[in-house]
């Protein structure tokens, strides 16, 4: 990147703003969503301030954790406990359920709006006891979570999860392996992505296609985004510290620290702060964020469409036989295609260290 552009792009400290300045992007929907998210989080912090402690963090997931909340967004949360089991924990959960708006309660599969303990999340990585729900919660704690108020339990669990992925990745510590990409973690993130995709089909069947169109668009955009950010986070251990510098001290702490700092960022920040380094990726970076901005704008819009419903509601209520002719779904599908094509260019088609690592480590 030319020096004057670097200076210009660094005038804002937010990675997405920096990328916008570099590629000439105008992503107002993302900025608005960020502001809206801050307002929402501030309200939640006020309302929930007495319901956590140093052993239990209230953690939000989804768009609130990604800085992408819009007026119709779901509010997914979990009371995450890292300490002694206590009968009061359930009462806390019940109290939180009463505070969080009633139409945005626990998710259908029961991961959210509930209680989660560190033991299961930390100890059951792989094996019979690692259910889809457990894997989902564990990976979301890394890729897409944010504590409201007390953060100690969340931080501790996140660090310990990362420590397991790094400590137990034998290949990572092998001298014959010249790349510092944590494959145990990368593979679990990939597994999570595949779970989401397979569960998409499962939910379609279970819910008799209810909400198909909205889930379809989210799968191809916000879900795919967090997968991409997870891949780039793993690659950052090599891209930011070539020659396995992170592993020179012979213990996991430096790598855990690096990944913990990386996962403090939102998925968009992770992607933006990585892409801005590669001139060859400037054009697809703009396409990627242009399309994502359109997606967030579409979900944020409260303007009635031609059937009187706002886009989010209309997409959520579309029936399968209406999809092919629905102008809004067609528009949303185009956004999804543009986003997917840009990701394909960045990860697979255009030459860069990201493409190289994707071929070497990301596929097999």
């Amino acid at each position: 990147m030319p020096e004057d552009e670097i200076v210009e792009s660094r005038q804002s400290s937010h990675a997405v703003d920096q990328l916008a300045a570099w590629v000439g992007g105008n992503w107002q929907n993302l900025q608005r969503a960020r502001s809206f998210t801050r307002l929402q989080l501030s309200g939640l912090r006020t309302n929930l301030r007495d319901y956590d402690n140093e052993d239990a963090s209230i953690v939000v997931f989804g768009s609130l954790a990604r800085d992408e909340a819009t007026p119709g967004s779901d509010l997914d949360w979990t009371l995450l406990v890292d300490g002694k089991a206590n009968p009061e924990h359930l009462r806390l959960v019940q109290a939180i359920r009463r505070i969080v708006p009633s139409d945005k309660g626990p998710g259908v599969e029961g991961i959210f709006g509930n209680l989660a303990f560190s033991h299961q999340i930390l100890h059951c990585i792989g094996g019979e006891d690692d259910s889809n729900a457990n894997t989902t919660l564990r990976i979301l704690l890394l890729l897409e979570s944010r504590p409201i108020g007390n953060k100690e339990a969340w931080e501790s669990i996140q660090s310990n999860i990362l420590r397991r992925y790094i400590d137990e990745d034998q290949g990572l510590w092998s001298k014959s392996n010249t790349r510092g990409v944590p494959l145990f973690l990368l593979n679990d993130i990939a597994r999570y992505w595949r779970i989401m995709v397979v569960d998409f089909a499962y939910k379609q069947r279970e819910r008799e296609n209810a909400g198909y169109a909205l889930r379809n668009i989210k799968l191809g955009l916000s879900r795919k985004l967090i997968y991409a950010s997870g891949i780039l986070s793993c690659f950052s251990c090599e891209l930011d510290f070539p020659g396995k510098q992170l592993f020179k001290e012979g213990n996991a702490q430096r790598t855990v620290e690096h990944l913990r700092e990386t996962f403090r960022k939102t998925p968009l920040e992770i992607v933006a702060s990585t892409l801005i380094r590669y001139d060859t990726l400037r054009e697809p970076s703009k396409r990627l964020f242009d399309s994502y901005d359109r997606f967030v704008g579409l979900l944020a819009s409260e303007e009635p469409t031609d059937n009187g419903k706002c886009p989010r509601k209309r997409l959520n209520e579309l029936k399968p036989d209406e999809l092919a002719a629905d102008s809004l779904f067609i528009e949303a599908q185009a956004i999804r295609r543009d986003f997917g094509a840009a990701l394909g260019d960045i990860f697979l088609r255009m030459e860069s260290p990201i493409q190289q690592l994707m071929i070497e480590r990301g596929v097999f």
Binding site: D55, E152, S156, S159, G250, N251, Q253, R254, V256, E257
Partner: protein, 237 residues
């Protein structure tokens, strides 16, 4: 060989004479005199000249952990008058009302990182804010507190890395979920050994486990395993 010793508070609470008595004849070269309550400080300081501390090459004093703003000034005056300049004074950051009272102690003041119950002084970031106010202060690193805050030992690693130049004193014990200082367990020994290489050999290690006199030798042996001067793998092999 690391300098190693005990806190009189851990051995005998406010009865420092009893604590010193229990330590007589033990193969240790360091000690921390403890006055965790305000009303314990003056008696301890006034009897300092009468105590036989000749066996110890490293002596520190733990200041009270809770006091009001008026008491804070009195405590600082007492410490200034009675504590030798080369003795570190361990202070809990959450006890401080007015940092300017403590500025004059410079590097003699050793700020201790806190357990997870405390609102400040737990992480590298929180300690940074305190050292901004007390730029010359040093660090008393309580490794048990750091592990209680983050059992992955990443926060311990971060604190030791960021404040390597300030590290003066180490507290060693297992800190349980109720923030009680206990004898080292196997898990704690294993966890502490992961950051042992970041603690220089010359920094005194003060054991804080609440143990009886007949458990002291065993605790010293555990401490040596927890903070080895060579890789843990070679000790286990």
């Amino acid at each position: 060989m690391r300098p190693i010793g005990f806190s009189t508070g851990a051995l005998a609470l406010s009865d420092y004479r009893q604590g010193l008595s229990q330590l007589r004849g033990k193969a240790i070269d360091s000690i921390e005199l403890s006055a965790l309550r305000f009303n314990e400080l003056r008696p301890l300081l006034e009897t300092l000249p009468t105590l036989n501390l000749s066996a110890y090459t490293n002596i520190g004093l733990h200041a009270p952990s809770r006091f009001d703003a008026v008491q804070e000034i009195e405590i600082a005056e007492l410490l200034r008058a009675h504590v030798k300049p080369n003795w570190p004074i361990v202070l809990h950051p959450d006890a401080i009302h007015d940092p300017s009272v403590w500025l004059e102690f410079g590097s003699q003041l050793a700020i201790e990182n806190m357990d997870r119950r405390k609102p400040i002084g737990r992480t590298a970031e929180e300690l940074s804010s305190i050292f901004e106010l007390l730029p010359d202060a040093t660090l008393c690193f309580d490794i048990g507190h750091a592990r209680q805050c983050d059992t992955s030992m990443t926060e311990a690693y971060r604190v030791l890395h960021r404040f390597a130049h300030k590290l003066r004193w180490v507290h060693l014990s297992e800190v349980n979920t109720l923030s009680h200082h206990e004898s080292l367990s196997y898990a704690a020994i294993w966890a502490f050994s992961e950051v042992a290489h970041l603690i220089p050999e010359s920094v005194p290690i003060i054991l804080e486990a609440r143990i009886t006199a007949d458990q002291m030798d065993a605790e010293i042996e555990k401490a040596k395993r927890a903070l080895p001067l060579r890789a843990l793998s070679t000790l286990i092999a």
